[in-house]
């Protein structure tokens, strides 16, 4: 029979609420397995007969038999006819293991990452607020999304496609969606796209990672805007790229540092429609100069057109991809901001020679994007609902930007100057008082308000002090309340 302490171990497994989902025989099997692994039951030791053990534990004999059968099937015990059950001799069960007690590594133990893994971990990654509150940036308003319409289209898709929709999808993306995307970017963004050149992805972050691994080797140089979108910089750094910051002014990225640098760079990363975070639109002559540079050096332009749907003063300038007759531009677009983040659909418009390799690379990353969502989105676009939704949201966001700018001018005038952008989902504000950026962000956090500091987006961390205020996801009342709270908190801080 088991010793008292062994019986108690089994009983502890039986009554542990964490094991409530397990049948009794599984709990008993696991408890005995644990004792064998821990070394508490050594090789050759006999196990109790099933009848007395069943009695001690208050379970049926069948339960014990089921536990023993599984232990036997897994090789932990041997059963000798008429002689009972014994712990098996296990070659691999070395003393080091037998002595060790069950002690999970604590979560803060050195995780033994690779160098690149440690760098990625240190970067903090790209985290979004799960429940957006003012002024978390980059978040669209999902409360206005026509969810019933979307659900209806999805039902249609499932009805027509049936269980075929459950199978593996084309890693390049559903043909109907690629066609809808090509039509859209050609019409609205002045792109030169075709369905054959579109690669459907899960997010623009994935597009950046895919570019980083397919087009660059570790140590290769890439020009990036300074300040820059943190998600892009982190993706490139994670892939081992050497990011060379290039200053941005009111006309977007400056081109002299790119054109005059004698060292070869594989690419330049741009957010030309509204530079992130400054909001500047890249001037036409600079676009042409960068295209010319890329063509002459066989370098790439990675164009992240992340929220160009939301331009509030006329139409946005056509994208760089449409101006590039040399096929050096990878254009990246996403539905995260124009529809909703949970959709997980973005895309790249690729130079023809990159379509096949990038599609292959994508299969290694995660196979393909969910097919049902793709077909539903294609139908949403074909039916004109995408265009209609974007128009509605453009009006809503323009009003909210206007509201926020007025609120900031009224309530925060002693502290900041708003730089009202021509588009996008966030407004940069420059600190005009003698408060540090960090102090302002802290003051905001104390009253439940989120600000993204601009300094951290600069390569040297020393840009003009200020912050980004996201406005798209918040009602005028929410904006007003948050601006007032922020104003009071800044005042309190500044007064002391």
């Amino acid at each position: 029979m088991f010793r008292h302490s062994q019986l108690e171990s089994v009983k502890a497994w039986l009554i542990n609420p964490a094991h409530a989902a397990m049948p009794l025989h599984a709990r008993i099997q696991r408890a005995i397995r644990q004792m064998i692994l821990d070394g508490a039951l050594g090789p050759g030791k006999p196990l109790p007969a099933s009848r007395p053990l069943a009695k001690s534990l208050g379970v049926s004999r069948d339960t014990i038999e089921a536990a023993y059968a599984q232990l036997h099937a897994e090789g932990f015990i041997e059963r000798r006819v008429g002689n009972g059950s014994f712990v098996a001799e296990m070659v691999g069960l070395k003393p080091v293991q037998r002595r060790s007690k069950r002690n999970s590594a604590p979560a803060n133990q050195s995780p033994n990452l690779s160098n690149r893994g440690a760098a990625i971990s240190m970067s903090g990654g790209v985290r979004e607020l799960l429940l957006p509150r003012p002024f978390a940036q980059g978040v669209p308003d999902t409360r206005s999304f026509p969810l019933p319409l979307w659900e209806r289209l999805e039902r249609q898709v499932l009805k027509e496609t049936g269980t075929h929709a459950l199978l593996h999808g084309d890693p390049q993306g559903a043909e109907s969606l690629r066609r809808a995307i090509a039509d859209y970017v050609n019409l609205e963004r002045g792109a030169r796209a075709s369905a054959e050149r579109v690669l459907v992805l899960t997010s623009s972050q994935q597009a950046l990672m895919l570019c980083a691994s397919m087009l660059f080797d570790p140590g290769d140089r890439i020009f990036i805007e300074d300040p820059a979108y943190y998600g892009a910089r982190k993706a490139f750094e994670a892939a081992g790229l050497d990011c060379v910051p290039v200053p941005v002014d009111r006309q977007g990225i400056t081109v002299e540092p790119v054109l005059d640098d004698p060292r070869r760079a594989k690419a330049v990363f741009l957010t030309p429609s509204h530079q992130f975070p400054t909001g500047a639109a890249l001037a036409l002559d600079r676009r042409l100069a960068l295209i010319d540079w890329a063509a002459r050096h066989e370098s790439w332009i990675i164009e992240d057109d992340y929220d160009s749907e939301f331009h509030y003063a006329g139409r946005p300038t056509a994208c760089v991809q449409g101006l590039d007759l040399h096929d050096r531009t990878v254009y990246i677009g996403t539905f995260t901001k124009s529809l909703f983040p949970g959709l997980r659909i973005a895309y790249a418009v690729l130079p023809p020679q990159l379509v096949k390799p990038m599609t292959v690379g994508r299969t290694l990353l995660d196979g393909h994007t969910a097919f049902i969502a793709q077909l539903t989105l294609a139908r949403f676009m074909e039916g004109g609902h995408f265009g209609a939704h974007v128009r509605t949201m453009r009006g809503l966001y323009a009003d909210r930007l206007d509201t926020l700018a007025n609120l900031v001018r009224r309530h925060l005038r002693d502290f900041v100057e708003p730089h009202v952008p021509v588009g996008g989902l966030q407004m940069p504000c420059m600190l005009t008082c003698d408060m540090s950026e960090r102090a302002a962000i802290e003051a905001a956090r104390r009253v439940g308000v989120e600000l993204l500091g601009l300094s951290s987006l600069h390569a040297a961390g020393n840009g003009e002090a200020g912050f980004l205020m996201g406005f798209a996801a918040y009602s005028p009342l929410e904006l007003e309340s948050a601006v007032k709270r922020l104003g009071q908190s800044l005042k309190a801080d500044h007064g002391t």
Copy 2:
């Protein structure tokens, strides 16, 4: 006025069916932009007045005005009051660009990839048949999936969660799904999991890629099974790892090459439940020996438990993760085979110290997994539907395996010997005639039958000749028809 050829260029844009989705003014704007970019309209050149151009093109004057307004907004033309419109001087428009004709790079042009990109491209990636036909392997039967039930649960989720479900999700995964997964792997796979240790991903391929980049630097060594799952090998090679093949026998991977190798390896990759492709279950003493090895060397065990739901002879052996008291095992599971490939949900059960870094790494790959699908799956599992579906499919697949084995014995006995596995969705067959593996695969392809050759899964490409036959997705009639066709084709080939 435009020259005749210029007017014809604009007309060509107008009538090109590829531009049917664009309004007239956009087509005219694009046509003129193209001429400017091509150099056909040089800087300073006057544009026709809107009235005569409208007449020549047969459109309204407003259309021309709208086109000119957009060209002006984008910086391509200047408008002088009372003097008309002129092509702007564009600093960036260098002669090299002006001379170049619109010529897209052909798709087969050297794509100028990085070294790692070229290697990934050469690997061919991981492609699945879009419409599975016998005997494409690794595909579950989706025709039996309870889609109406799934749709009902999704409607419930959307009704209860509303547009919140459209927002960014927790990059670690929805808490309810992580709890359901932990309960499932603890009960069914003998794992030691908790919701805090589960990371929800998009596919097991993504899990492999994430491990490869977070746990390894380029050049680090990893032991992999030989023969091995191609998706794992390609993921590791794409990340620059040095894959060291270790022979597999009837008890799974042999452990002496691992234990006796004096050089440090960061990890071993295992498919212990049914080794891919041999179907062997890894013996208990080897599992314990590998755990001991990993603990002593602070190495990792990457356990891909890709289809252990489908075990046809009693319960499968508990997973390695559950035996590992040292927290050195990353357990990978997927719903691609147990539910359906289009779902795009898989998961890893992580050692506690890896949860935070791996979650950060995942945000850089693609943010997070679609939230609505996660919540629907959680409900599907909580309601017991997952267990029920797996049980149903297990019975169905066991019958199909039986059917296939009998068909092969009857119709292909002159050519192959089936190795009937204890589980999984595919059956290995060894060639027993003097036909080459390549010839057999070609003979199959000629009659619309897919076979995956076993040689290619061996590191040296020289394993025993044979192939894998997937059976799960095909009805008995489909299996019979395909086996007969294959038999006739092999006979015809062999006879000649």
